[in-house]
């Protein structure tokens, strides 16, 4: 699959929640809070000064530097799963207990500990495949062959 037409980039990391999915990326350059940061009922970012304020992550491959803020992080993302508003997958830079546990209880394919920083390499709207079984994220770009 890594050789398919339109392949732009393969990011190598470590899968921490298994599974393979493909979808559109939503990239945050800022860390994300759980409590005070997202609203599970709607799956949106609610931190007022956040670059993604008001944006919904449901069904997206959420790409972000890491988790910040309260220890409720995992609980808030778990709630998105229970409310049906979870992201499709998680791809993040910094591994912490909050993010690791959050990914596990959100039960979505998750890759972290990359050689290259995914936040710098992926853009919102990119089509990406998250192959957490093999610790890979394959970035196809916004449309096949489109230069970035």
């Amino acid at each position: 699959m890594t050789g398919a037409a339109g392949t732009r980039l393969v990011l190598r990391g470590r899968g921490i929640v298994p599974g393979r999915v493909a979808g559109r990326a939503l990239v945050s350059h800022e860390t994300i809070s759980g409590w005070g940061g997202i609203e599970p009922a709607s799956g949106t970012i609610i931190e007022r000064r956040h670059e993604l304020y008001g944006i919904c992550f449901t069904g997206k491959v959420l790409v972000f530097p890491g988790a910040k803020g309260s220890s409720g992080w995992s609980g808030f993302f778990q709630s998105t799963r229970l409310m049906g508003t979870a992201p499709l997958a998680m791809v993040f830079t910094n591994l912490t207990t909050k993010a690791a546990l959050g990914a596990i209880v959100t039960r979505v394919p998750t890759v972290t500990e990359f050689e290259d920083d995914p936040v710098a390499k992926i853009a919102t709207g990119d089509r990406v495949e998250v192959d957490a079984d093999n610790g890979l994220v394959i970035v196809y770009g916004p449309r096949p062959g489109h230069p970035r």
């Binding site: 470590r14 921490i16 929640v17 860390t31 409590w35 005070g36 599970p40 009922a41 609610i46 931190e47 007022r48 890491g66 988790a67 910040k68 803020g69 309260s70 220890s71 409720g72 992080w73 995992s74 609980g75 778990q78 709630s79 229970l82 409310m83 910094n94 591994l95 912490t96 207990t97 909050k98 690791a100 546990l101 959050g102 990914a103 596990i104 209880v105 039960r107 998750t110």
Partner: protein
């Protein structure tokens, strides 16, 4: 792959029942995600199971508290029976209780649900402390003790001030720890991960509680999740100062561990704080930095008409309640202003005995327990502008409730409650020459 002891394998394989097996399964997945080599034994777990949330309510309605525990606290979809807690486990802050009834727009249904959850968890042996500051009410881990705590402000206090060892855990990891006595031995549990990463040099002496909050907020913003080491002629902090400092640093950044050489137990000296590494080049904290943090915390306030004053985030120490009571002696709150002091219920009992609660209530204020406005997303009806002496509450509450905020000293906050007006200003810094 995490290495398991025979005991841990037996738990995983179902010797102690389905719930324990599910808990071990979650802990193994979590340990593997982190890359932990093994699990630590713990006898001290602090988590939150009881606070109402829409997801929890849904699960409860489907299958009772057992279902809610299975899914939220063990990440398990099976019908399991919740066993008694295996190790001492306390309940942290949750939603508002009875004392909130009718004084704020907070759902009576939530209060009932929470009381019901509390009975359930009590019957399983959970110690309901209902506070974000378990260390103020008898849950005092010892130096070097491996614990599994939630609540970022409590985690940073336990690691840094008490020298206990915990990561910032979550609902499923503390739930699983409570019935197995295990948690991944990773991160802050290992000495080599506890040394400082950043050096902060203060040119200012902290003159009190507010200064420690400003400094903490600066530090968290500067180092994010890293481990700062603060040096300078800072003065002697007490419990409330460090509680406030750590909560601020955990809010503006994600600090879980810091050192103040000579003032925190893991670092008698600057050298000890950095282990074998040389201290990095310092970041400076001086008058300009202090002023900038103050201005940023006060940038959300516009109107000087204060409707609501909140003291006690993290939950107020006895000294803080005493200070508020003293400041309110023979005074009456402005008709349009509420003042709440949040404290653990155990300390409220002391406040009652000392006459502080009566003094505060006589003036028109309240001493409330179990939760806080940010946690329960509830302030007095109609609040547009609030004032607080807590950098953490000033950080979160405007975002959560969409209101304006003022940050000042305890006395300025009390003054705002009495006059209905915000008249705070930043006192000059104590510059060390």
């Amino acid at each position: 792959m995490v290495a398991l002891t025979d005991e841990e394998k037996a738990m995983r394989d179902g010797r102690d029942g389905d719930a324990v097996a599910a808990a071990m399964d979650l802990l193994i997945r979590y340990a593997d995600a982190l890359g932990a080599a093994h699990l630590c034994e713990t006898r001290n777990v602090a988590g939150t199971n009881t606070q109402p949330s829409p997801a929890k309510t849904k699960l409860f309605e489907e299958g009772g508290w057992s279902k809610a525990f299975a899914v939220i606290s063990l990440d398990c979809d099976d019908d399991i029976e919740v066993p008694r807690m295996k190790v001492p486990t306390c309940q942290l802050q949750h939603g508002f209780g009875d004392d909130a009834l009718g004084i704020m727009p907070y759902s009576e249904r939530n209060i009932e649900l929470q009381a019901d959850a509390e009975s359930f968890y009590s019957s399983k042996g959970v110690n309901v402390l209902a506070t974000c500051t378990p260390y103020q009410v008898g849950n005092l881990p010892t130096y070097g003790e491996h614990i599994a705590w939630m609540e970022s402000s409590a985690v940073v206090y336990a690691n840094s001030v008490l020298g206990a060892r915990t990561n910032c855990e979550g609902g499923a990891s503390t739930g699983s720890a409570s019935i197995t006595g295990r948690i991944p031995c990773w991160g802050n549990h290992l000495v080599e991960n506890r040394y400082g990463s950043h050096l902060i040099e203060s040119g200012l002496r902290m003159t009190g509680f507010q200064d420690w909050g400003l400094f903490g907020y600066f530090v968290g913003d500067a180092v994010q999740e890293a481990r700062p080491v603060m040096v300078g002629d800072l003065g002697q902090p007490d419990l409330a100062d460090l509680k406030h400092f750590g909560a601020a640093a955990a809010s503006s950044g994600g600090v879980e561990m810091y050192h103040i050489p000579g003032r925190t137990p893991d670092a008698p000296t600057l050298e000890a704080a950095f282990g074998r590494a040389a201290p990095p080049g310092p970041l400076h904290y001086g008058e300009a930095e202090r002023r900038a943090i103050y201005d940023s915390l006060n940038s959300i306030g516009n109107s000087e008409d204060v409707d609501f004053v909140l003291i006690g985030c993290p939950h107020a120490s006895l000294e803080q309640i005493g200070r508020v009571a003293r400041a309110l002696e023979d005074r009456t709150l402005s008709a349009g202003t509420e003042l709440w002091v949040m404290t653990p219920r155990a300390l409220r009992a002391v406040s009652d005995r000392n006459g502080w609660t009566a003094t505060i209530e006589r003036a028109g204020g309240r001493v409330l327990t179990d939760s806080c406005p940010a946690m329960s997303r509830a302030a007095p009806t109609g609040t547009k502008v609030f004032a607080t002496d807590s950098a953490k509450q000033a950080h979160y509450l405007p975002a959560i409730l969409g209101i304006e905020a003022w940050f000042g000293t305890t006395e300025e906050c009390v003054d705002a409650a009495v006059t209905g007006r915000w008249r705070g200003s930043l006192a000059p810094a104590a510059v060390v020459r």
